[in-house]
Each structure stands twice: as C-alpha cells, then as structure tokens.
C-alpha cells in the first residue's frame, strides 16, 4: 500500500565518487584511476561505484573507498550531489561525491595496483572524466574551509610527525606558504598536540622532534 505513493516517478542510478587525499613526498596527492574498464577506458577518473539496494549512500562511499584502499574507518565527508542530466554522457547517473583523508602509510598497495590507481600531485592533475574536476575543486574548497576551524589535517599524517611535515601539509591544503615561527606558535597553543621523546633523523642531520595527536 504505502509502497505505491511514488510509483509515477522515475528512478535513477545513484553513484558515489571518492576524492581521496593523501600526503606523500611533502605534497598533497589524490588517488586517481587510470581507467582499465568502460566507460571512458584509458582516461583518468575518481574511484566510484554504484549505490546498492542494501546500503546507504554513505556506506556505499565507505565500501568504494575500501575496495580501492582496503581501509575502513577513514575520515570521510560528503562533498555534495552532482545531478546534471548529461554529467555522465552514457546514461543518467546522479552521483554523490565524498572526500577521504588518509594516512598514506596504511593503504593496501596491491588493491590499488589492481585498480590501476596512482597517487597524483594535486597541483598537477590530469583532466578527469565527466564532472570529476568539479568534484575535486569543490572537495578542496570544503576541505580547506574545514581545516581552518577543525583539526582534520592530522588524518593525513602518520601517527608521529614533525612540525615541518605538519606545516608543509597545511601549506599544501591552503595553497600558500606559512611563517615558520607563527605556525609553531599556533601549534604550541593546541592542547591536543604533544611532543614525543622521539627524534626523526630521516630529513636532517640534526633531527626533528616528533609530535603526536592526543586521542581524546
């Protein structure tokens, strides 16, 4: 009975697409597919997938992320719905984009390899299919916005990190250079960041103090 209220309305494919951020070699990267399947085989795209009957849209995004990276419990946020008629030239698909921030030490390299996915410098992206460029642009904006007020950046770092790494990350997010002393002053005022007693010697002779986020 109830099931018939909507019967005169059309149905659509609903997809999810993931903008997957990682911080690698001192730069922000996105994990992109060089598509080895149709449609648009051979072109670059975000990792995506279709929402299934038994899952919420959010869960579909988590599933798709896991299919590519093996990771669960990753920081994800919705970017928004993309619903232009011709956004996918093959067939009408409404897509909901999500961005994910992942610690690049953790992902499953085999899975990524099997999907023909590559980490790509965010300031040097190839053209992407459909409206994926627009999705990326919107995700970057939302992420940047969010990073001003909330401490989401740490999701991109390993458990321990140097202040220089942290600064470089934020410079990547905001797209501008920051003053070292002012940056460190601010970090010093964040109660949830604490020094460890370890030193990272990998990036300088002197070595840099490692810090970590205090779990609440």
């Amino acid at each position: 009975m109830e099931k018939n209220f909507y019967i005169n309305h059309p149905k659509f494919y609903v997809a999810v697409d993931c903008i997957i951020f990682g911080f690698k070699e001192q730069k922000l990267h996105l994990l992109l597919l060089k598509r080895n399947f149709e449609p648009a085989m051979g072109q670059w795209s975000l990792m995506g997938g279709f929402v299934q009957v038994g899952e919420s849209v959010d869960d579909a995004a988590k599933r798709v992320l896991k299919e590519l990276t093996g990771l669960e419990r990753v920081y994800m946020e919705q970017v928004g719905a993309f619903g232009d008629i011709e956004r996918d030239p093959g067939e009408r698909v409404v897509s909901v984009a999500y961005y994910a921030l992942l610690n690049i030490d953790d992902y499953d390299k085999n899975l990524v390899h099997r999907h023909n996915a590559y980490w790509t410098d965010i300031n040097n992206l190839p053209p992407l299919i459909f409206d994926h460029d627009e999705m990326v642009a919107k995700a970057r904006n939302i992420m940047k916005q969010k990073a001003v007020n909330e401490d989401i950046g740490f999701n991109l770092l390993p458990e321990q990190f140097t202040l220089t790494q942290l600064q470089t990350l934020y410079e990547g997010i905001f797209g501008e250079t920051l003053d070292k002393r002012n940056f460190r002053k601010r970090v010093a005022g964040m109660p949830f960041i604490e020094q460890t007693d370890e030193i990272d010697k990998s990036s300088s002779r002197r070595g840099a103090r490692l810090y970590r986020v205090v779990k609440k």
Copy 2:
C-alpha cells in the same frame, strides 16, 4: 551499446527537499507544509518533490521551490544528499536538500495557501517527518557559515531595509545578539551597502534611515 555498462545496478527514486528561509516579523522563519497528502498526511515537512527524467537535480529544486512560492531566480544552495536506507520508511528514496533565501514580500500567497504551507518561527519548529529535522539543522549551519564571509543575508530582505532590520536578521542567523555600534561600524565599511534618502517610519516615531544593496 554505451547504455549497457550500468545495467546490473539498481535505480532509486531521487527527491529534492527545500529548506525555505524567510525573515518575517523580525524573526527567521521556515516555510513548512502541513501535509494534506500521503505519505505522512497531517504531519509537518519540508516542501519536496521527485527529480524527473528531463531535469537536473538543481533544476528539480528550483521547480519545487517555484511550485510552492511562484518564485524563480531565488538564492539557493545545495545542503547535501541524504541517503540512509530507511530515511523514508515507505520506500527507498535518496533526497538532495537545498536551502533557499527569499524576500518574504515577493512570494505567491495563493500557491502557498493551496499547498497548506505556513511560515514557522525557526526557533519554534514542530517535529518534521523523516530526516527533515536533520536537513534543517545542516542547512542552518551551512547558511550561518556562509553568512560570515559572504553577503547572502540580503536575499532575505526587501530592497530597502533599516540597519536595525539588518542587525535583527543577522542576530537570527547567528543565534546571538550583536552590539549595535560595532554592527553599524562594520556595515559602514561595506561598499555595496548604500544609504537611500528615504526614512522608514513604520517602526519608530523618529524613523530609521533605509539602506539598499548596490547591484554590481
């Protein structure tokens, strides 16, 4: 040929729901339906509708807003997609929420009456069906956020307005009282707001200067 890539995936109803803000009697209001149709007849909800084959999701939102208010070219922004499996207990529907800011002088009262819709004080809302409360909460947050940096508030005001009206509006948006002198100082620094030579006498004996937004 191309059309068959996605054939194994399910399709869903896709709806839009509109959080319609108006500024009335010195308070922020939402335009809500007291539903005179199924499902959930008799309960309160946002104005919504289903996306049709020939229209984008954005266009569906514009159409739905126009169906209720008669208005076109209203300021609208997407709030996000809501895709929980059971969000509509009757049937699986993915909904994309939008908020609209409208000048309450302009809408079509007959249409609104026919839809059994009412302006409701945003701080005194009835419980809404499904996840509409969540949509409203998210829309308010996004709107508040946006109002900090961008001058969207003016969409809620008539062409000419007093500074007291403007301040009351922003107090409604931010949910806090503002200092009159500081507020006026800030407005004075906005180049796109200009004095008119008219005085509004409706709210005080002395009368208050009317201002307007300069179109760019």
